[in-house]
């Protein structure tokens, strides 16, 4: 019994942390958002160390429905890492003229909802059974819907919440329908049994299409991406950051679990399908990003494109490809958090979200501008930043199968993406401040926020140069997921 609880210790502690932060204000009077962020930050930091330290045992438990392996724990570490970084980005700014991004009164609720969402993601990657998996999925989506609509006074936020709930219900419906067909064919809800019993038939193809569309919504893969732009724009920026990193990573894990693994042996051309999905996603994301000026919409498009690159690596189901995906997820999380960190800092201090208003950033806040530029370059895949070797690895995974056309599509897309990433750099660096009505002035960034930016910036450089991170990805990718 104790062993079983050890297996789910991370999930238990996440639940405890979520309940704890909610009750903090009840227990101690007059507590501010800072302490809440601090508690959750420390908690998640501790959990991250716990996950990586190897203290959580590997193995199956609870009647074969719950699996922990190196790969599963690696995904969990990625979720907890993104939760940790986003939590710290919620640290309120002080001083005059600041515009808090989340209502300070409900800070604890926001953090607790995010923790529940992380918990759901952990359940998704561990689940070996469809019902548990679906419960995890809903645990991820519902808190995110609430978080998206968190700024009740902002009509964009409410609109985004509405859109998100509709689309996520639709995708859940599609997914459930597909899963029920799978159950009908295999006669079991256990994933290992399903992958043995599935055979090639019209029904299995149909169900794989339903499941793929359902998962496609979560990953925001084209053509299932329609909700992304508006939801990302309307949601409070820390929530957008969380959506774009953690929820995307969870969607990709889901793709492995319920599309590639069960159907991989059945539908022989699924690789072509994923490759087409990747091509569409990359190309659309990049083309849509060309015209965005709002930083949130811009990063939404960029994150669609990034998901496309990851799908390129997913074409290769061997450990080689999986290692590339896990490694790139790590790279993507830190690079995207760096980008969002800078956007959050600017939005908090000045309320600006339009990249054309970033003029003068490199002169008034050179360090922040540098972080921002490095984040853009890392996302664009410029060496020696982590994004470069990450993309190299992903494309190598596709090239290993001989899909050179996909590599070419990917590299051309990377060139297109460079254009818009450079556009941001242009506004921040190239345009002279006297050419703008009100260039950005010097502003203060609180210590915690600077700490996050420092960590991710060092991360972007180190992860790309030091070989240990790739070795880690290669080691964990060998185990079952």
């Amino acid at each position: 019994m104790i062993d079983q609880f050890k297996l789910i210790s991370l999930e238990l502690l996440l639940a405890v942390l979520a309940i704890g932060v909610l009750s903090l204000r009840l227990l101690i009077r007059g507590i501010g958002p800072r302490l809440e962020v601090g508690v959750v930050g420390f908690g998640l930091g501790g959990l991250l160390i716990l996950t990586l330290s190897g203290a959580i045992p590997n193995g199956l438990g609870f009647g074969r429905v719950f699996l922990n392996s190196d790969a599963v724990l690696a995904f969990k570490a990625l979720f907890v890492l993104s939760g940790f970084l986003v939590t710290l980005l919620c640290w309120p700014f002080e001083g005059e003229g600041n515009k808090p991004l989340l209502p300070p009164k409900y800070n604890a609720e926001a953090l607790a909802l995010m923790l529940v969402s992380v918990l759901g993601m952990c359940i998704i990657v561990s689940a070996r059974e469809l019902v548990l998996l679906y419960v995890g999925l809903e645990m991820v989506s519902l808190p995110l819907v609430i978080l998206t609509a968190f700024n009740t006074k902002d009509h964009r936020s409410s609109e985004a919440g509405m859109k998100y709930v509709v689309y996520s219900a639709l995708s859940s419906g599609l997914l459930l329908y597909g899963l029920s067909m799978v159950y009908g064919m295999a006669g079991s809800t256990y994933l290992d049994i399903i992958s043995q019993r599935l055979t090639l038939s019209w029904l299995s193809i149909l169900s794989s299409v339903f499941i793929l569309s359902g998962v496609g919504f979560k990953v925001a893969a084209v053509p299932f991406h329609i909700w992304t732009l508006d939801v990302y724009e309307g949601a409070p920026i820390p929530v957008t950051a969380f959506l774009s990193v953690a929820s995307k990573a969870a969607g990709l894990a889901l793709l492995y679990k319920i599309v590639i693994q069960p159907f991989g042996e059945v539908i022989f051309s699924w690789q072509l399908l994923v490759a087409i999905l990747a091509t569409l996603t990359m190309t659309f994301g990049n083309l849509a990003a060309l015209h965005q000026n709002n930083m949130k919409r811009f990063l939404a498009c960029s994150s669609i494109a990034q998901a496309g690159y990851i799908l390129v690596g997913m074409v290769n189901p061997e450990p080689f490809g999986r290692a590339a995906v896990i490694y790139y997820l790590l790279v993507y999380i830190i690079s995207n958090i760096a980008a969002f960190g800078a956007v959050i800092a600017i939005a908090n201090a000045t309320g600006r979200e339009d990249m054309r208003d970033y003029v003068g950033l490199s002169i008034s806040n050179p360090k922040l501008a540098l972080v921002f530029m490095l984040a853009m370059f890392s996302l664009a895949g410029i060496p020696p930043l982590a994004g470069f070797i990450g993309k190299f690895y992903l494309f190598a995974a596709a090239a290993k199968l001989g899909m050179y056309w996909l590599v070419l599509v990917g590299t051309i897309n990377a060139t297109i993406s460079l254009y818009y990433y450079l556009m941001v750099v242009k506004w921040a660096y190239l345009v002279k401040p006297d050419a703008h009505a009100s260039p950005l002035q010097v502003f203060n960034i609180p210590f915690v926020h600077r700490f996050v930016l420092f960590v991710v910036t060092v991360g972007m450089v180190l992860v790309g140069i030091v070989p240990h991170f790739i070795r880690w990805a290669q080691v964990v990718a060998g185990s079952a997921l």
């Binding site: 490199s362 370059f377 410029i382 060496p383 020696p384 470069f388 070797i389 190299f392 690895y393 494309f395 190598a396 090239a399 290993k400 001989g402 050179y404 590599v407 070419l408 590299t411 051309i412 990377a414 060139t415 460079l418 254009y419 450079l422 750099v425 242009k426 660096y429 190239l430 345009v431 070989p467 790739i470 070795r471 290669q474």
Partner: protein, 507 residues
């Protein structure tokens, strides 16, 4: 740590040191930059001399197809991907490293008067130089590509922030076109890795393993166009005139002087890795580069903006490099590599002078200048030497390169190549037209603008840069023998491969 790593590391250390100096002390920043560039120049000179001694003592190399590398450093980096930190130099890279060190040293001298955002300027400049040194020293394709991109990207900021004219447009165009080229190279590297089955990105191993003929057939043009974009190959050269015209002095010097040579260097590399592809496609590239030579020089005749004249002449001269490579003839190959070196010195000299002249007269239009020789004799004389080297006057470095390329090309046993050579060689005439016309308009005749009479000549730092460049142009033009020895020694493996294939297939 070996000498090659040291050379790559010195600019990085300079970047770190410069970052520590407060913005309010530009003099210190410039001093650090000057010292770092000086150290690199010393190291590169030592490298060149040491390598020459090694070559003179070595036997003639024979017909080995393995790259003859010196100063090798090799450590595992990303083992499972077959990526090593692998540095090594042959004669060509030693020469190119020397050229880079010269150009950056003179570039720092030429930007001594910089005053706008000095710290960032030198930071980006040295980052760029790190990349360039790295490309020439790297022997692992991944490392090579990493440095290659590092050499291209800072250009965006350097042109975009400190440039003149339509700087944002030029910077974006340049970056995107070059990155588009590198997208092709990226694909090429991955294909080479997986198709050769060498399980290593090292050029040595991939060269030994080789790739199949059918792969070479489609992959060679991909790589060649990728590198050709940076090498100014027509019709992918359009970034170059705009970029060079908008860039600040030191950046134009580096870019036209060294960066475009990366293209030629990369083409040479892909010829080594895919000799069969090189033979299959040489005809197409000869035609394209002949257009290069002609087109560049013809447009240069039409232009009156000094930077555009030099930029188009660069397109024409870089075409000569690729033309020499396209002939697949050992003499022309030597000439092409020598042209990389000679043209690097020439263009660096030109762009340095244009920067200095513009800094004084505030115009770059030839038509608005005149009689400047009496006002600034130093700048005038240096421009004269550069111009004469550009049109290939015997005794200067440009001549040696041109004569070898054309002689080698003409000796190829094919009437079409002979015709193309004649066509290409006649572009020398147009070169003389624009060079001499610009020279006479600018420096002779009456002074056009009375303001210009009050201008001063080059200051001490500028004179230093000019003297170095002019001296080297003359010195390597008069004593090219030892440089040729290094070059031919290092070209042996590539030529041996091509000869073998030609023998086997009976071409």
């Amino acid at each position: 740590m070996g000498i090659l790593s040291t050379i790559v590391l010195v600019p990085i250390v300079a970047v770190i040191l410069i970052s520590l100096v407060p913005e309010s002390r530009p003099a210190w920043i410039k001093r650090i930059a000057f010292i770092a560039a000086g150290i690199n120049l010393c190291l590169a000179t030592w490298l060149l001399i040491d390598f020459t001694i090694k070559v003179l003592h070595a036997d003639s190399g024979g017909a080995s197809t393995a790259l003859a590398l010196e100063y090798v450093e090799r450590y595992h980096w990303f083992e499972k991907l077959g990526i090593d930190y692998f540095m090594g130099a042959d004669g060509i890279s030693v020469l190119m490293i020397f050229l880079t060190a010269i150009v950056i040293f003179c570039g720092v001298c030429a930007s001594w008067d910089h005053s706008y955002r000095v710290k960032e300027f030198f930071n980006f400049l040295f980052l760029l130089v790190t990349g360039v040194f790295g490309v020439f020293a790297a022997r692992d394709l991944f490392l090579f590509f990493l440095f290659y991109e590092l050499a291209v990207l800072p250009m965006y900021l350097l042109i975009g922030i400190w440039g003149t004219g339509p700087r944002e447009y030029s910077a974006m165009k340049l970056t995107l076109m070059l990155m588009g080229g590198s997208a092709l190279i990226f694909l090429g590297i991955l294909v080479l890795y997986f198709e050769s089955g060498a399980h290593s990105f090292s050029m040595v191993e991939i060269g030994r393993a080789g790739v199949s003929e059918s792969t070479q057939r489609w992959l060679f043009p991909v790589m060649f166009f990728g590198f050709g974009t940076l090498g100014g190959l027509w019709p992918f050269h359009t970034w170059s005139p705009d970029g060079h015209a908008s860039a600040p002095t030191a950046v134009s010097m580096l870019h036209a002087g060294v960066l475009m040579k990366l293209g030629g260097y990369g083409c040479l590399l892909s010829m080594y890795l895919m000799p069969k592809g090189a033979i299959m496609w040489s005809g197409l590239f000869l035609v394209l580069t002949t257009i290069n030579l002609f087109y560049g020089s013809l447009i240069a005749v039409k232009k009156t903006d000094l930077k555009y004249i030099t930029a188009y002449s660069s397109v024409s001269h870089c075409g000569l490099i690729l033309f020499g490579l396209g002939t697949l003839n050992s003499v022309a190959f030597q000439g092409a590599v020598f042209q990389m070196y000679a043209h690097g010195l020439m263009t660096a000299l030109f762009f340095a002078l244009i920067g200095m002249i513009y800094g004084r007269t505030h115009t770059r239009y030839v038509t608005e200048m005149g009689g400047l020789l009496s006002v600034m004799p130093w700048l005038g004389c240096a421009y004269f030497v550069g111009g004469l080297a550009g049109l290939g006057l015997p005794g200067l470095a440009g001549f040696i390169a041109e004569i070898q390329v054309f002689m080698g090309a003409f000796s190829v046993d094919s009437p079409i190549v002979k015709i193309l050579t004649v066509l290409a060689a006649s572009s020398v005439v147009t070169t003389a037209v624009y060079m001499l016309r610009a020279l006479t308009k600018m420096f002779y005749g009456p002074i056009q603008n009375s303001e210009h009479a009050k201008l001063t000549d080059a200051n001490l730092v500028e004179k230093l840069a000019l003297v170095i460049l002019v001296f080297l142009l003359g010195f390597s033009g008069m004593f090219p023998g030892w440089l040729m020895k290094i070059i031919s020694y290092s070209l042996n493996p590539i030529m041996a491969q091509i000869q073998q294939i030609k023998l086997i297939s009976g071409i």
